[in-house]
Symmetry: C2
Subunit: 477 residues, 2 copies
Amino acid sequence: MDRYLSGVQLARLLAIDPGARPYYRALAETVRSLILDGRLPVRVRLPAERHLAEALGVSRTTVTAAYDRLREQGYLDSRQGAGSWTALPDAGALGTENPWIAAEDDGLLPLHCAAPLAIGALPAAIASAGEQYPRHALGIGYDPVGLAPLRRAIAARYTERGLATRPEQILVTAGAQHALYLLTTMLLAPGDPVLLESPTYPHAIDVARLRGARIVPVGIPDDGWHLDLLTSAMRQSAARLAYVVPDFHNPTGHLMDDATRAGLVSAARKHDTTLIVDETWNELAIDEVPRTAPLAAFDTDGRVISIGSASKLWWGGLRIGWIRTGAATIRRLAALRAAVDIASSLFEQLVVTRLFEDIEETRAERRRTLGASRAALVAALTEHMPDWSFTVPRGGGSLWVRLPGPSGTALADAAACHGVRLAPGTWFGVDGTLEGRIRLPFTQPPQVIVEAVGRIAEARLRGPYGSRPALPLTPAL
Amino acid sequence: MDRYLSGVQLARLLAIDPGARPYYRALAETVRSLILDGRLPVRVRLPAERHLAEALGVSRTTVTAAYDRLREQGYLDSRQGAGSWTALPDAGALGTENPWIAAEDDGLLPLHCAAPLAIGALPAAIASAGEQYPRHALGIGYDPVGLAPLRRAIAARYTERGLATRPEQILVTAGAQHALYLLTTMLLAPGDPVLLESPTYPHAIDVARLRGARIVPVGIPDDGWHLDLLTSAMRQSAARLAYVVPDFHNPTGHLMDDATRAGLVSAARKHDTTLIVDETWNELAIDEVPRTAPLAAFDTDGRVISIGSASKLWWGGLRIGWIRTGAATIRRLAALRAAVDIASSLFEQLVVTRLFEDIEETRAERRRTLGASRAALVAALTEHMPDWSFTVPRGGGSLWVRLPGPSGTALADAAACHGVRLAPGTWFGVDGTLEGRIRLPFTQPPQVIVEAVGRIAEARLRGPYGSRPALPLTPAL
């Protein structure tokens, strides 16, 4: 039985504010909501684009754009010449609705992304790398394990942090995401259980799905990790791999204490789980916090693999990260890496090598700027959203906000119509939970944060399809 | 039954020249040869390191290094505390013996790699990118599809070449390898048949193996592609995907004519195969050749996907490549790409954008330098190896040499002991064939090529373990 809706029938269901901008987005989002709450069943054929356009009194292009968007998000299946049917996205597939991918430069304030602006010292490091470059540009330029001076600098930093490390234990990658991707590809087979924190970094979920792994989420309560929850999840799931972010956890901001670190490694040993420890935020304390030992410092049998990144401390536009593990595993990873993308940018490796020299100055700069942005965000939320709650983290880049109800996605949709892109809590979970949460980064400058919070407040008040125009995109300094 | 060899027994089998340098390598290679030709069966336990060291009169470290090497190559399985057994590498696994991975800076002349040195205009492009960088460094720096000006420049170059292209049809990647990896991951499921040329680019084989694809090799005879071979392979295998290098094919140097291009696309349409066309060498004609149309210009239904790279025209140290296909597929690829490594280096995207401006000057420079190196290689081979045969290609970067016998691997091993790293023919095939071939690149300067050919001649004469010291690694300008 082919179920079918005419243009007029669908238009009646939709009830979109004619002033909504961009209209195609409002149309797509409304159809998506109707599907999600069951008012529009799946496998119903939608009207042809021109029929719906007529019924709504909009251009056919607008309907085409909305259908395209729904198709990309997995809510529409189309067959050339036959029509389009409502659908639900394949849970195992990656959508193009993705934290890092804005459809275009749409002028929205990028509050979906916890990515600090570039540090002040970047131009000087670029210039210095430019001077050294010609010397390095004499060779063939491929270097799957990474440039020797950078491997030394990364190893030296681990050693300074209390974890003796040799350069052979370091693989330079194209960022922490790439590091996680390589490790997951090497260590997990499809169907293997992998333990992820809930909430966690959204791209860790993507990587696990891409690998076809069975995701075992472990909740992180409001007061941080509970060792018994982690341990029992390891025992019950026999997880091959666990991914944890112990330092200013993304998105909650928690910092794992030494006792939990020791307990976690010991549980991993007992249950034969390999720990991937993402230290991307490690250098970004804002308050005075006791220096915790790297998780790998508790390791006795090579089951803790650390990954790190230049992206938060220095800048996300630098695509440099690293893996720290045993030298033999590094060689195997290098062979895999050569098949994925051969090598990291030599120029950026020179830049990051230079940046390591002044790491303490950079940490101080970040402490100042992230501290100021965090204060601005807390103040703005206290003023505009007294019913939202959160714990202020002592470092990192975001607040993990509890909303008064399960409205994160609706709020993000509404905020987008008021010029702010947000990351709803569901992005950070695996099972459609966390709808009552939203992550608010404090990585943008205070004035952007204040403006954004004002717009979010307006979005709450006026609902999704108010017609405030998007901000022109002149990034603040 | 646990079969076992004592130190003395193995030492007797080995018969290594005591002057061989590095000795550990000679030891490992000899064990490998014994396993490969069956004189040392698989699943035999080898003596403990110290016993073999005593029997050979060398240090234990030397034996450890040799065992490590064998283990990495897959010829040895070891269990902590139990011992080491001879083994054969898993054909589906990636070894760490890899075209791009030298164990360390071992001072060998890099004739295994067809990678031209950086062009003269690179420092100026770096400087120009340095000037523009601060402006671009204001944003969050993540851009999974790529920087708009670079996408425009790449699209414009396709259009100039006779293939109308919009920037939305371009995804900027971290090199052609990365492009191929992303496409294979998206388009192939494990077990799917994929058609590869034989010989082909070694990393294409790695990628197919990594994906668990069923590899269907199609031979390329000495006179180039035979359309009937390609067509019947498509028909018989029902390959989902075919990977071809029509422009100065790596390693043979062939250039596909327009009639074969048209026929190939039409066969792909008939058998529902998607073609991935690697145009990495496309801009690198040396002789005057008629301009061929891009393969995608024959496409009528979106089944030809083109990939390209900055690495051969400008420099391999620039990790920038691209994919050209339909805009909707580009968006799906961008989502996948975000999960693999998020985005390309922003700085390098600026550099390559700048380099596109002077592409014709660069092509002229490459024509000159590659032409001189090609002439030097041909002359040196004619002088030193009159029994080797090859067809001189009209562009690209390598000669595909036919040896008088099936001796490619042995020659590469011998050459390594004389200071030259070579790529034996087997690297370019999927099934251990092509042993009678070797790829000799002419991407290094003439004096390096002349020196290398002299050493290869010496290696042929004196056999694998002569003790000429490695060259000091001061790369020639």
